[in-house]
């Protein structure tokens, strides 16, 4: 069994699986259940001045038979009094002293208000703070959440106030609703944050009911944009995590959030630079029990590779991401179709014919059947055919030797410059 212990900027937990600040961490009852199931840490549902919520709060994005490939929400921060939350936090911490409990905070941008909140919350034995500069709906209209996260100078200033008053590590949670995530992340680092977490949810409208014209979800016929999350946002999150992981001006650990549901998702976030992960949507879909398979799958993965601790893979593939102009122009792959596995749906053919480079031929066989055959000379190795193929092992992208040494655009441009 590999060592799954994780440490985010001094916040230790027995495994890298945390619950994100969200509905599953709303109460002590839920957090106790989560810890019993095996979660390594939780970020408690954001504390602040209690708010009033609307009803009808969530909407799911389905893709054909798949439910909840994403969801959005217009729920706000905790709607329960601070004292109630704090007494429950204390109970959970006493019952599970080895787990991490991080308090998510949100306040108006006033130094005294923040200092007062930090002071009160750290009276209970919490392991860290997470500053919610990410919520894109509701609270942002009141100058909080993403409204702070979209202004690097505000991020730096509020972070400073908190770090100054805090006895525990401070994590800044960032909104993805910005042009370049590195700027707010750098601001957090400048303000003294010990780590950043990303991504919070993405501005979204889930849909409109075409019969009633009500937005989805709607509150008495109206809605506001909500925060989008779940498996569909993972690629956006991975990019932002990696952008920050590779940026020397950020330079602090990252907690990765966005669509984590399987142990493979966890490995991907860690490889691209996250020190741990936070999960919400998958739990909203399936319950706390999913953590058993996250741990089992990750353990077996590490054991099979002889990797002793999860910390060893953090950032392992971070530098595999680079700029386009560093990619090898002379690397070539082509599609190979395994005729014995092909079920003749012709999806690859029409995808290539209409949307790629017209290099799959339908070749009639003596028996009257048709084989799909790749014209390797014209195949550009785009992957589209293998992506649309419903049979996993049927279309393989195979490397072919171009006989040319590796050369990037940068090198090529430089060489041409020398020639020119």
């Amino acid at each position: 069994m590999a060592d799954l212990r994780s440490n985010l900027a001094g916040i230790a937990s027995p495994n890298p699986f945390w619950l994100a600040s969200a509905p599953p961490t709303n109460s002590g009852y839920q957090v106790m259940r989560a810890f019993e199931a095996g979660w390594g840490g939780v970020v408690w549902k954001t504390l602040g001045t209690p708010i009033v919520n609307v009803t009808s709060r969530f909407a799911g994005m389905n893709y054909k038979q798949n439910k909840m490939v994403a969801m959005n929400n217009i729920e706000l921060i905790t709607d329960r009094p601070l004292d109630e939350n704090l007494s429950e936090i204390a109970k959970c911490k006493r019952a599970f002293p080895d787990r991490a409990i991080v308090a998510s905070l949100m306040e108006v941008c006033e130094r005294d208000a923040w200092r007062e909140l930090v002071k009160r919350v750290q009276e209970v034995d919490i392991d860290g703070f997470e500053l919610n500069f990410g919520c894109p709906h509701g609270m942002s209209e009141r100058g909080m959440g993403a409204a702070v996260g979209q202004h690097p100078d505000l991020i730096a200033r509020v972070t400073e106030w908190v770090v100054e008053a805090s006895r525990v590590p401070v994590v800044v949670k960032l909104t993805p609703n910005v042009t370049d995530i590195r700027f707010p992340a750098r601001a957090a680092a400048r303000g003294g944050a010990h780590a950043v977490s990303m991504i919070n949810t993405i501005n979204s409208i889930m849909g409109v009911d075409v019969e009633t014209w009500n937005p989805i979800p709607h509150v008495d016929g109206k809605s506001s944009h909500g925060g989008y999350c779940g498996p569909a946002v993972k690629p956006i999150a991975l990019n932002m995590v990696n952008d920050c992981a590779r940026d020397p001006e950020v330079g602090i650990p990252i907690s990765g959030i966005g669509g984590v549901e399987t142990w493979q998702d966890v490995v991907e976030f860690l490889l691209l630079g996250a020190s741990n992960v936070q999960v919400c949507t998958a739990v909203m879909h399936h319950g706390f029990r999913i953590v058993e398979e996250l741990a089992d799958g990750l353990n077996r993965y590490l054991d099979a590779r002889g990797i002793e601790s999860v910390a060893e893979i953090v950032g392992g593939a971070a530098n595999r991401i680079t700029t386009w102009n560093n990619l090898n122009l002379n690397y070539k792959i082509v599609a190979r179709i395994d005729q014995s596995a092909c079920i003749h749906c012709n999806k690859c053919y029409i995808a290539c014919e209409d949307a790629a480079h017209q290099c799959i031929d339908r070749v009639r066989q003596p028996g009257g059947s048709t084989n799909l055959v790749v014209d390797e000379g014209h195949c550009v190795g785009c992957n589209l055919c293998s992506m649309v193929c419903p049979v996993d092992e049927c279309i393989e992208m195979v490397r072919v030797d171009t006989g040319r040494p590796a050369q990037s655009w940068k090198e090529r441009a430089a060489a041409m410059g020398e020639v020119g």
Partner: protein, 447 residues
């Protein structure tokens, strides 16, 4: 060890392809407190093992299965899933249920293929337990007792472990390799095995109990009893279990002729029917197809074979004759030549439904081979010899599966009461687990 075993043609059930597995595993809803889990006598966490398949964690999936059910590989092949997990699937109402048995087989087959080590023995407790019988119930008890750290010795009367899984189920439904792999899992945990030892004959029960702190009786049942009609001593009259065993071990059953009769209508009867049909077909090149017929004294509705087994037999070309009972087997030169049957009808009385012969309806069928498959006899004398209280050969146990002898527990076919449902491998496995838990409690109490 096992001789090379003929598979006798196409398996009853082909394994799923990778594509089918992907579609099926992702179709599973991952229900909470899932009905499929609750329908399984061993409570396999089906949603979890399927989610693990979907997540590419086959070793983890196999562990979930085998943790709950030490006979998880056999059960994936022989369980009446339509009556158990798949019958309870929430999809059943409006769609086809998830193919749970086939997915289970996929995950366990991967573990078998990869040689994955699934469990470890527990820290030694210093206690010793004797297991009498190395079939599904005994192996399950032994497996869990080893995981709890108790020293275990299995006493098996036969040459190989596995019981009816090894010897009594036709190879195209349950290959011998599968049964032996399950036994091997138990042996690898450090269970000692003494084969060719029959407790009560080669070793007295008292001697056994003097040496061990506790025991599990898991000796199953006996052979198929005589029908009780003239002619049963003739050559060409078989006990179905002996017949299946010879086929499974590749020891041959000789020429079966062109007319084969199986008497009885349970799952073993179906096995005898389908395998004799396949043997006759393989042997019968040149001649006409052998006619293989089931004769049953009651009707289709009263058959104890599972519905899917009956369907399978129909597809294999078996013929069925209901409401007829054999009166005598007619021989010629010491060999079976024909059977005289009499028609029956069901009569309902206080004791239930009985098949009653209708006089004057006798008819004779030319038959070359007869296979008796009318259930199994009870080991009445054995239990008497062992000093274990029983009711007509059914070992008496309390709610913890303890027999009337303190420290002696019983599980599997030897405690299946008459008139209850079909003895299933999965039930035997669960009882083995329960017996292990009871013994663990008994030993830790400081017996």
């Amino acid at each position: 060890m096992a001789a090379p075993v003929p598979s006798l043609g196409e398996p009853f059930h082909r394994p799923l392809t990778h594509l089918e597995v992907k579609l099926e595993a992702n179709r599973c809803l991952y229900c909470y407190d899932a009905p499929c889990m609750n329908a399984c006598p061993t409570h396999i966490d089906v949603a979890s093992f399927i989610a693990k398949i979907a997540a590419g964690n086959l070793a983890g999936s196999a562990r979930v299965i085998m943790d709950a059910n030490p006979m998880g590989a056999s059960c994936a092949r022989v369980c009446p899933t339509d009556q158990l997990c798949e019958g309870a699937c929430v999809y059943k109402k409006e769609d086809t249920p998830i193919r749970i048995g086939d997915l289970q087989r996929y995950a366990v087959d991967a573990a078998m293929r990869d040689g994955t080590r699934l469990f470890e023995a527990g820290a030694p407790t210093g206690h010793t337990v004797a297991i009498v019988g190395g079939g599904p119930a005994g192996l399950s008890a032994a497996r869990d007792l080893r995981r709890m750290g108790h020293a275990v010795t299995i006493f098996e009367a036969r040459e190989m472990l596995g019981g009816l899984n090894t010897y009594g189920i036709v190879p195209f439904r349950l290959p011998i390799e599968t049964a032996l792999w399950e036994a091997e899992q138990v042996v690898e945990l450090g269970a000692q095995v003494r084969t060719n030892v029959r407790v009560g004959r080669d070793l007295a029960m008292d001697a056994l109990l003097a040496e061990y702190d506790a025991a599990v009786l898991a000796c199953g049942m006996g052979g198929v009893p005589q029908i009780g009609i003239p002619g049963e001593e003739l050559a060409g009259v078989w006990d179905a279990l002996e017949f299946i065993e010879r086929v499974k071990l590749g020891r041959g059953v000789g020429a079966l002729g062109s007319r084969i009769a199986v008497i009885g209508a349970g799952n073993t009867a179906i096995d005898a029917l389908t395998c004799s049909r396949r043997i006759a077909r393989q042997a019968g090149a040149g001649g006409g197809e052998a006619r293989v017929t089931m004769y049953y004294r009651r009707g289709e509705r009263q058959m104890s074979a599972y519905g899917f087994e009956y369907e399978f037999a129909k597809q294999e070309g078996i013929e069925f004759r209901f409401f007829c009972a054999p009166k005598r087997i007619v021989g010629e030169g010491g060999r079976v030549k024909a059977i005289e049957f009499v028609r029956t009808r069901l009569e309902t009385s206080e004791g239930g439904e009985a098949a009653v012969p209708v006089s004057g309806t006798e008819f004779v069928e030319p038959i070359d081979t007869v296979v008796r498959a009318i259930g199994q006899s009870r080991l009445v004398e054995t239990f008497d010899r062992l000093g274990i209280a029983h009711d007509g050969g059914v070992v008496r146990v309390d709610e913890n599966l303890q027999t009337t002898r303190p420290g002696v527990y019983a599980a599997g076919d030897c405690i299946f009461a008459k008139g209850t449902r079909e003895a299933m491998v999965v039930e035997a496995a669960e009882q083995g687990k329960r017996a292990a838990r009871s013994i663990d409690t008994y030993l830790r109490r400081g017996a």
